[in-house]
């Protein structure tokens, strides 16, 4: 029993191991692509989104740059056209200059002052709030530049009234000498353009010069004309996107476009987090979908594997049972052949013994031996020999009891009638031992073609075994009923039952639970053989202390019509 339990445990662990393996493999195979796909989509999406944002702010930066550049060009162009359309002499006349200044302001605006400087750097005429007339700019670096290049735009500086300004100066070449028209521009005007690009919660736009000094007021960190933390060298030609992390470890994207001949950098700054909220919600959705997919796969895998394993287990149990049954009938068939062979070999010598002792008995009856002193001893011995030969004969004939009737004699048999007959035959024996036999025979049981004598033997064996098993005081129930193509007959007793270790052997020949000499151990073997020969089966179910039930299943063979 303990061994059986251990074996059962081993089998359970074998199935559990198999189950675990299948689940792990299935999960690995089905989850790996899902996770890889999920991760790829996750990062790809993030990359794409970032690229899109970068592109977007790059566009914004370029657009803003164009607007600012346009503003500068416009001012420069007005200044140029004024210089080109007027002679030096006209310009140094301050009344004239004032008129021109007014025209310029009315057409374009944002001009703070206007001045004329000759080729030697002297400020000859000036219209504006500062008293700049008479100053010499010859030593100023911008003077050299404008003389060399024709156009000069300064960085922003804080001018009068504490407003940011910058200068545009253009050169007019008139015959042999050249002069300069110089204007101060209120950069507050183009600051307005820049500020319009400061969108969203974290969006910023500003202009820095080459050394990173703010030319416009940024929205967040820093002030105009102070140095920004921006590395202008990290912005190349055209428009460049740069990613940075600020002190709070937040990612910030910058896009910068160089304008004003590479002197100024128009920068769009955008916090990533704000722009990414769309991405984040998409990401969360993706993660949720992947996670629920994983959960579904895990649940499904575990569920289907469990189901498969339990089916497999059931099939194994069934196959095992069938195997055991097959082995049982193979064993019984082999034993049957052996028994028939042994029977033959024993019967011949038994026959000789019978004849020899018979002959001795014949001779003992002769006159001259009657006087012998030991005549009675001889007689007794001979009787004993005969008695034991008879015993041996019974065993051997019992073995052959089935074999001798191998060729069944087919007739129309009413199984219920055969059962009733059996009860009649054994009723007396049962009553003596105070055993009640009850029967519950279904009228549906049809007449079949079978060997009545053999069936009689089957029921006799089962019922008399039941009586012997009970011993005294008990009950036997016999039931018959039709079950599809078979007739089932149950013989149940409420005897002591058969111990489990003996149950496997009860159909073996010479296996008996009865006392030595009382049973041959052939009854159930013969029963089994007869029923199997009919194409049926005998099963036994026994529980110690509760009783035993034998079930005989006989196929219904409809008798031929005569």
């Amino acid at each position: 029993m303990i061994e059986g339990k251990r074996q059962q445990d081993m089998e359970t662990s074998r199935y559990t191991g198999l189950q675990r393996k299948i689940i792990l493999l299935t999960l690995l195979v089905s989850l790996a692509p899902l996770i890889v796909l999920g991760a790829t989509i996750y990062y790809q999406f993030a990359g794409m989104y970032r690229a899109k944002i970068t592109q977007q702010i790059t566009y914004r930066s370029r657009g803003l740059a164009q607007a600012v550049e346009l503003f500068l060009k416009e001012r420069t162009a007005i200044l140029c056209s004024m210089a080109d359309t007027h002679h030096f002499n006209e310009m140094i006349d301050e009344a004239n200059l004032s008129r021109i200044f007014e025209i310029m302001n009315s057409r374009a605006g944002a001009f703070v002052d206007l001045g004329v400087i000759d080729g030697n750097g002297r400020h000859l005429a000036y219209i504006g709030p500062y008293d700049l007339k008479g100053l010499n700019y010859y030593q100023q670096p911008w003077f050299g530049e404008v003389m060399a290049k024709g156009v000069y735009i300064s960085d922003v500086y804080m001018g009068y009234r504490r407003l940011p300004h910058f200068i545009i100066a253009v050169r007019r070449q008139e015959k042999s000498h050249s002069w300069i028209l110089r204007a101060t521009i209120d950069s507050g005007v183009f600051e307005g353009i820049v500020k319009a690009a400061q969108v969203g919660k974290t969006g910023d736009a500003f202009i820095v010069n080459k050394s990173g000094v703010y030319q416009t007021q940024p929205r967040f960190e820093g002030r105009i004309l102070t140095k920004s933390k921006l590395e202008t060298s990290s912005f190349g030609g055209g428009t460049t996107g740069v990613e940075k992390k600020n002190s709070e470890e937040k990612q910030i994207l910058f896009a910068g476009t160089w304008i004003n001949h590479g002197k100024w950098l128009v920068v769009i700054r955008q916090g990533v987090t704000e722009e990414m909220t769309g991405l984040f919600s998409t990401r969360n959705m993706e993660i949720a979908i992947v996670l629920s997919g994983i959960l579904a796969i895990i649940l499904m895998t575990v569920f289907t594997t469990r189901m498969t394993i339990s089916r497999l287990r059931a099939a194994d149990v069934k196959a095992g049972e069938m195997n055991a049954q097959l082995m049982q009938s193979d064993k019984l068939a082999a034993l049957g052949k052996m028994a028939a062979g042994i029977a033959h070999e024993i019967n011949n010598p038994l026959q000789v013994i019978v004849e020899k002792t018979g002959w001795m008995q014949d001779l003992l009856n002769e006159e001259e031996l009657q006087q012998s002193k030991n005549i009675d001893e001889f007689r007794t011995s001979i009787n004993k020999i005969e008695e034991h030969v008879e015993r041996a004969r019974k065993v051997v004939h019992g073995m052959l009891g089935f074999a001798r009737k191998m060729e069944p004699h087919m007739e129309d048999v009413d199984i219920n009638a055969v059962i009733n007959q059996t009860i009649d035959l054994l009723g007396n024996y049962a009553r003596i031992n105070n055993i009640t036999i009850t029967s519950e025979l279904s009228p549906d049981v049809p007449i079949i073609a079978a060997d009545g004598a053999q069936l009689q033997q089957v029921f006799m064996n089962l019922v008399s075994n039941a009586i012997d098993a009970i011993g005294k005081d008990g009950r036997i129930d016999i039931k018959s009923r039709r079950m599809g193509p078979q007739i089932h007959i149950e013989v149940s007793d409420n005897g002591p039952g058969i111990p489990e270790e003996k149950q496997k052997r009860i159909f073996d020949p010479f296996f008996t639970t009865k006392e030595t000499g009382k049973g041959t151990g052939l009854g159930l073997w013969v029963t089994h053989n007869i029923v199997e020969k009919m194409g049926g089966a005998v099963n036994m179910r026994s529980e110690e202390g509760k009783g035993t039930t034998f079930t005989v299943r006989i196929p219904i063979v409809i008798p031929e019509k005569k």
Binding site: A340, A343, N347, N348, L350, E355, V389, R393, R404, E407
Partner: protein, 157 residues
């Protein structure tokens, strides 16, 4: 022919110890018995003498087997009854034997009393058959007395 004997029996069995003893015991009970250890010997004896009943072991190793012997016996003496004796339950050969005209079959070991009873039954049957044949012949002879000679001729064969 010993008039003491009720009827004559031939026992065929390859088991010498059995054969010798059964012959002696049947003889003692007034049944004229002879024994043969194999089929050939048995057929030889049957050609020489008349037996009422033959007790034949179905399974004999070597030489003719029981069924073969039985077939030959029925050719020699169709009216002689044959009881088959078998050491095991070879139903097939027993049934074949019955089809070939054997009277019955017995399973070894057999008690002498049972054997004698069976022999007597076989003899009775044979006697009955003989009786019928005899009365048929008598009737025939009464109708056609001339056939007496014909009958004798047949018997000479």
């Amino acid at each position: 022919m010993d008039t003491m004997h009720y009827f004559r029996v031939l026992v065929v069995d390859d088991e010498k110890d059995f054969l010798e003893t059964i012959v002696k015991r049947l003889d003692k009970r007034g049944i004229g018995t002879e024994g043969a250890l194999n089929g050939e010997k048995a057929l030889e004896l049957m050609r020489e003498k008349r037996f009422d009943v033959v007790l034949l072991d179905i399974k004999m190793p070597g030489g003719m087997d029981g069924i073969e012997t039985l077939r030959e016996m029925k050719k020699i003496a169709p009216l002689t009854e044959v009881i088959l004796l078998t050491g095991h339950a070879s139903v097939e050969s027993s049934i074949e034997g019955m089809k070939l005209g054997a009277f019955d079959y017995l399973l070894k070991p057999v008690k002498l009393e049972d054997l004698v009873t069976k022999l007597a039954q076989a003899f009775e049957k044979k006697e009955g058959q003989d009786q019928k044949i005899r009365s048929a012949k008598i009737k025939e002879l009464m109708r056609f007395p001339g056939r007496v000679f014909q009958q004798e001729k047949e018997e000479e064969k």
